[in-house]
Amino acid sequence: MLQVRDGDGETLGVLFERYHAPIYNFYTKLTGDRALSEDLVQEVFLRILRHRQTFRPGTPFRAWIYQIARNARIDHFRKSRPQVPFEPEMAPTVAPGDPAQKQQESELLHRALMELPEEKRELLVLCRFQELPYEEVARLVGCGVSTVKVRIHRALQELRQVFHQLQAAPANSAQRNARQNIPPRRLGHEV
């Protein structure tokens, strides 16, 4: 990053290689919107270029880029439409060969994640998927480490409740459909 700061454009390509997929996944899991996630990744790297002079040597680059990524998303939602509701079509792709049950579980879990309040979802995404240690997440969101741990626990409890509700919902719907001779609606999508 120091090379980028001092004007070496090629090094930004190296940073892009290393970070664009993790940042893209940070956004897809938060927003469930692939196109928007691609746009926000571009915005992040543009901001790195614009703000490169504000990067302080000795500070961790990962924390800095996630701070930029969070700000870019906040700015986006501040000035544009509210978040679109999560649709099955946005469900993540599952590697071929996965059993159908696992795929369904993964989709339900993603739905449950998307139904959590934004702050809880963000914490889970940062700690679980981006694998940031609690200390780093605490600095990022501006609170204490113990607060992050408490919030993670609460987020998981709420995720459990939503997940159970969603698990019950398709079963109810299947029973209703069976009574009415309606074929059950497919969850997810083919890629």
């Binding site: 664009h20 893209y24 691609e38 790297f45 614009r50 504000t54 579980e105 879990l109 998927f129 997940f163």
Partner: protein, 268 residues
């Protein structure tokens, strides 16, 4: 141990941050408590949601953005990538296929045809006619820029801004459109490009005034930092009070505030 006590240990257990003894305590509890065991199980199950690969188009956009940025900053900023001959021919070909490219080569062909016609038909072509033709071409380029600045698509407006950079002197109408773009365009990228384009016309008093006024209007920290940088680059001491006013805004992004401090110290 009760669930409340385990709750304090569970997050560290999930990130494998417990001692062996604490880990055993948690595991013993999980064996007997369904609720805590499900919470811990969900953490593991979250791994079922797989990571996705971003599309190849993202990389192309990034490269185009980097190139556009480097072109915009000229030689003051980043070093260019080593030229790749194949890629550069391909990118020229791609550009010629784009609507802007089509307009450009159409203008070039008309100009070439007119020039050859004049050369062949009238040996007495005088410099006045050539100058008139040059003016005509300049006007056409500015009309293209003006119309592209009003397009729906942000990328086309960006192209429009790029067109304005081809002219040393801008028509007042184009200059006014650029200033309007800087203040009101929806896209941050387009506003930033407009600022870069306007930075070449610091001699025009209304340009400096627009940049200073934009400082109070813009909400994007990215644009605010770029505006501050530009005013420092122009060494516009009169802008210092306006930057100070911005610095005192209650909800200002900390990075922008830091940049404003730096700018004020530079300008005073």
């Amino acid at each position: 141990m009760k669930c409340e006590e385990i709750a304090g240990l569970l997050p560290d257990y999930l990130q494998e941050g417990l001692s062996a003894e604490q880990k055993k305590t948690v595991e013993r509890h999980l064996e007997s408590c369904v609720e805590c065991s499900e919470v811990a199980g969900l953490w593991k199950k979250l791994a079922l949601i797989p990571d996705e690969q971003p599309s190849a188009a993202g990389r192309q956009r990034f490269e185009a953005m980097l190139q556009a940025y480097q072109t915009g900053r000229g030689d003051e900023g980043l070093t260019r990538r080593a030229p790749d001959k194949g890629a550069s021919i391909w990118s020229v070909f791609q550009w010629l296929r784009s609507p802007v490219g089509a307009v450009a080569w159409s203008i070039a062909l008309v100009a070439l045809g007119a020039y050859l016609g004049l050369q062949l038909g009238n040996a007495k072509t005088n410099s006045q006619e050539l100058a008139a033709m040059h003016t005509e071409l300049t006007n056409m380029r500015q009309i293209v820029a003006l119309s592209m600045l009003q397009q729906q698509s942000a990328s086309q407006r960006l192209e429009g801004v790029t067109w304005t950079r081809r002219e040393g002197q801008l028509d007042p109408q184009v200059l006014s459109a650029l200033m309007h773009t800087l203040r009101h365009d929806q896209s941050v990228d387009v506003r930033l490009a407009a600022l870069d384009a306007l930075s070449r016309h610091a001699g025009q008093p209304q340009v400096k005034k627009t940049v200073v006024d934009a400082l109070q209007e813009q909400q994007s920290p990215l644009v605010q930092v770029a505006l501050i940088d530009q005013l420092v680059e122009w060494s516009d001491a009169e802008a210092a009070p306006r930057i100070e006013k911005l610095r005192q805004s209650p909800n200002l992004n900390p990075t922008v505030r830091q940049r404003a401090d730096w700018a004020i110290s530079k300008l005073n």
